[in-house]
């Protein structure tokens, strides 16, 4: 394929010119640019090779490590104030020394607040979707309303739920339930409609009961939609649980810690909490995606050809 009006040596040449230009005024900038273009050239070279499972892991990994290195370099070389941006090494040091606190916060916010709400909200949405599915009237009414509510800033209900359910993890779970319910409901209802008329007719010619049709045809065809909902809800659950802690919480929890450490300008601790939240979020998403791949191996999106 022809490249976009740029020969293959274009990018390295552009990089070299930029580095030289930067070197004349500011050596530090030149250094940062050199690392960036070096890593990018490596990635670009790797990307032209045939795709394997290893390549899909290595290329993003190199990119991520490069970003971290650039961050560290920028902070060290330009002496960026600790309040604005702590270096990754400082954050890492906090992750090591404050593991006990971080683990306690993780348990309170993710394992209790977010996970309990996620399971309850998604479970309830699934059950309601099964009920709604039996009535076309309810479907026509609930889908637009559900879509509308799913687009609303439901995070705003956090202060109300904290008022109702107290400062414990229960109020956080309630916020999570409110946040995940409608996106999940809409996806489930759409999923249950996904099987086409021919397939349903075939089931009828087999004299399949409602339960059999549901179990053997409609739930499997609904799985991609259900998992789409489940994946969207993983992030929503984390956001809900952390946001709710800003409106009142016991003296433990990720949102609480971020709020307190912000006030003390202990930015490395705040970033450590964010690192934990990001890892928890990615892990959560990854687990759901993994289960999806196991269950919907037949779907075109999952097939590798």
């Amino acid at each position: 394929m022809r490249s976009m009006n740029m020969p293959s040596w274009g990018l390295p040449a552009l990089g070299a010119v930029l580095i030289v230009l930067a070197a004349t005024s500011d050596m530090r900038l030149a250094l940062i640019l050199a690392v960036w273009f070096g890593a990018w050239a490596l990635n670009a070279a790797l990307a032209t090779r045939r795709a394997g499972a290893g390549l899909r892991l290595i290329v993003p990994l190199i990119f991520g490590v490069t970003l971290l290195v650039l961050w560290e370099m920028a902070v060290q070389l330009y002496q960026i104030s600790f309040v604005i941006l702590p270096a990754p090494s400082a954050i890492w040091a906090r992750l090591i020394t404050e593991t006990a606190t971080l683990w306690a916060d993780f348990q309170q916010t993710i394992l209790k607040g977010a996970l309990a709400g996620y399971v309850m909200g998604c479970g309830a949405a699934f059950v309601i979707a099964l009920a709604v599915d039996r009535s076309p009237f309810l479907q026509r009414g609930l889908l637009p309303v559900g879509n509308f509510i799913a687009a609303l800033p439901i995070v705003g209900t956090a202060p109300i739920f904290v008022m109702w359910f107290g400062f414990g993890w229960q109020s956080k779970s309630a916020v999570v339930v409110a946040m995940v319910f409608f996106p999940m409901l809409v996806n489930c209802v759409q999923g249950l409609k996904a099987s086409d008329a021919m397939q349903r007719d075939l089931m009828r010619t087999y004299a399949a009961s409602y339960g059999q049709t549901l179990l053997k045809l409609r739930l499997p065809t609904a799985l991609p939609f259900i998992f789409n909902g489940l994946k969207i809800c993983t992030t929503l659950a984390l956001i809900g649980a952390i946001v709710a802690e800003f409106f009142g919480s016991p003296t433990v929890g990720m949102g609480f810690r971020i709020k307190i450490e912000m006030g003390r300008l202990a930015m490395d601790m705040v970033w450590a909490e964010i690192a934990v939240a990001a890892m928890a979020g990615s892990l959560f998403f990854g687990i759901v995606a993994l289960i999806e791949r196991q269950l919907t191996f037949w779907h075109p999106a999952q097939r590798r050809g």
Partner: protein, 327 residues
Amino acid sequence: MAVTDRPTRTAGALAAMARAVVPVLSVVLAIIAIWYGASVMMNRAWTLDQIQRQNLEMTPSQIIADAMTQERPVLPPPHQVAAEIWNTTVGEPVMRERRGQMQGNPRNLIFHAYHTLWPTILGFMIGTGLGILLAIGIVHSRAMDLSVMPWAIASQTIPILAIAPIIVVVVANLPVLNTAVDQGWISDDTKLLVPKALISAYLSFFPVVVGMVAGLRSPNAMDLDLMRTYSASRAQMLWKLRLPASVPFLFTSLKVSIAAALVGTIVAELPTGARFGLGARLLTGSYYGQTIQIWSALFMAAICAAALVMILGALEKIVLRRMGVRP
């Protein structure tokens, strides 16, 4: 033929509309009914408590009436919220005079909505622009596809509220912005708006990236081959084939992303000590136990979200019709 056809067609359209509207209306009515029931159930406790303390005699209907007119109800009934919204939008002047200057009136909900909407739209534009550029890069460079896409997904698993306070501190300390304020290029209010806009941009770029990557890849092999037989360059392919083909995808993701941008702005107002904006209104309401104020702010946010999505929907219809897409 066409003339005689018209009445039946209008009748058909009316029937179709009734088919679409009646179920939605009944669901909405059911929600309102449940809401009333729940608010009586939840507010009754306080009324009963008062009766016991003051040894009052009240009939059940009086109790219900009292449960619906409390000043700080656990769950305000719909009409109280509606009245509050009415009083704080129409009942209050948007501008008021203070220290000899006309300023926004913080008692007016429209004033707060304005303070939330402005950064939302700014952030939405930044996010959309970045998202489109990123998507074009991802479609054209395999290295970018492989290295950026996983991190774009990972970036969305970071709870934004966690970074919101950091962004606020960083932006407040940015030398560039401070000099800009000192030089009088931008006002202090505009500076306060920047972190909110950045956070809503962070939330709104992701749906655009995903939608645009799918849209830019949507032309099939035949179309691409045709362009190649015309000896089109990649830039020409982008402008004449990929971008037009991606417009329907773009609008679908824009509607998702503007809702996300609004959530971003409201969340950004929570930990940043913003004085104005719907998020700030939520926060003060929660501090002082003003439940009616919280609910009215929540509904104002819902109205804003609905309006923004509807504006984009109308724009989508116009643009797609101009581009020759038949509904």
